[in-house]
Subunit: 219 residues, 2 copies
């Protein structure tokens, strides 16, 4: 199919498709004339994946490029693809060298040991956790930092289910794709459910009628 | 203090400070001459909050403006501030009208009823959950969608702790600030811990040595 047909089939504008081609996210079509190329079902599928990662998963273009490279490279294991996808969805923090960071490093090291986690400083979550805890201390957010074990317990509960759901070994490319989709969209889904669960608790505390926390803030 | 002192005290560049002033995130200093203004400790504090929301919480400039308006407006209740902060951290999804969306709407309505959540379609999480589930179906991510109740259970577990940690009533502005910081940075912290918990499960499944899922993907 031509680029216009690809656009119609996927609902992605021709301008966006050209952008993804330029950025190397979408492989080029088969050239049929100097100005035209032909695309196939694999392009449509890849385009849907790009849109889901960018629009729904909130990944940057660079992060999307990283995870798509992992999908396409047969040398990348499922385990490494998981790490790449995690790095792409994680907050990109700038480490600050101060006492708050030093204390946060100790807090995370203790947490990893307490929970028996297999995670070194090279794990993208490790550094992010340090930087978030340090930022919380600088802002007087100690009460949120105090939820560390509550969060860790909840994440241990979901992680086993998540990895079991996304990892299987019959088809490497499809399986890596599922890992990438699962990490990115699973995280977005969890954040959405957190919003509803918190609104429920907050509404009950405030004694509000059941229509709280609208986008407009006027609930 | 002058803008250069504010920059040194907070570690934020003068160019960034000027950008936040132009974007209305940071209130103007007290003008002392046509080219100079004086800033105080409240500016330094606000600047640290802006950086944490943008860099660590991953909020957009528009989202940051929304939550800061909630902090500054005495008419905004804690409950509404929570909704504004949730909308700012949530994936910004584009609804697609298709059968996958229709099915996802039913799935979320059933979930809300099953869990006894106080959340209507106006809750920012509600619409995002629908859009993420629909995107998962379109991508063949049904196994991740199947974790809906696992995620919901985990989020119910954290939400009660989170709301109790951030909400109190002695000082409205500080309390709203804590809600905003808690929603944005608490979410980033949870995502970081999810990364470590998943890496641990994945490493154990793969029989790997304890250094998995590096940022480089070469673990």
């Amino acid at each position: 199919m031509r680029i216009g047909d690809l656009s119609r089939e996927t609902g992605v504008s021709v301008a966006s498709i050209k952008y993804y081609l330029r950025e190397g996210l979408l492989p080029p079509g088969e050239r049929t004339s100097p100005n035209q190329a032909r695309y196939d079902a694999a392009h449509a599928r890849r385009l849907r994946l790009i849109r889901a990662l960018v629009d729904v998963g909130g990944l940057s273009i660079a992060g999307t490029r990283d995870v798509l490279s992992a999908v396409d490279d047969p040398a990348v294991s499922l385990h490494d693809a998981l790490g790449t996808a995690q790095a792409a969805v994680m907050a990109r923090t700038e480490p600050v060298e101060d006492e708050a960071t030093t204390r946060a490093e100790q807090t995370v090291a203790d947490l990893v040991e307490r929970r028996g986690w297999v995670a070194s400083e090279r794990n993208p979550g490790y550094r992010t956790a340090v930087d978030v805890l340090a930022a919380l201390e600088r802002l007087g957010g100690e009460r949120v930092a105090g939820l560390l074990d509550v969060y860790a317990e909840a994440m241990d509960g979901v992680a086993a289910h998540e990895v079991a759901a996304v990892v299987d070994t019959e088809d490497r490319e499809r399986s890596v794709e599922r890992v990438v989709v699962g990490i990115a969209l699973g995280g977005a889904l969890m954040a959405a459910l957190r919003g509803m669960a918190e609104a429920t608790v907050s509404a009950r505390r405030s004694g509000l009628a059941p229509d709280p926390a609208g986008v407009t803030g006027s609930g």
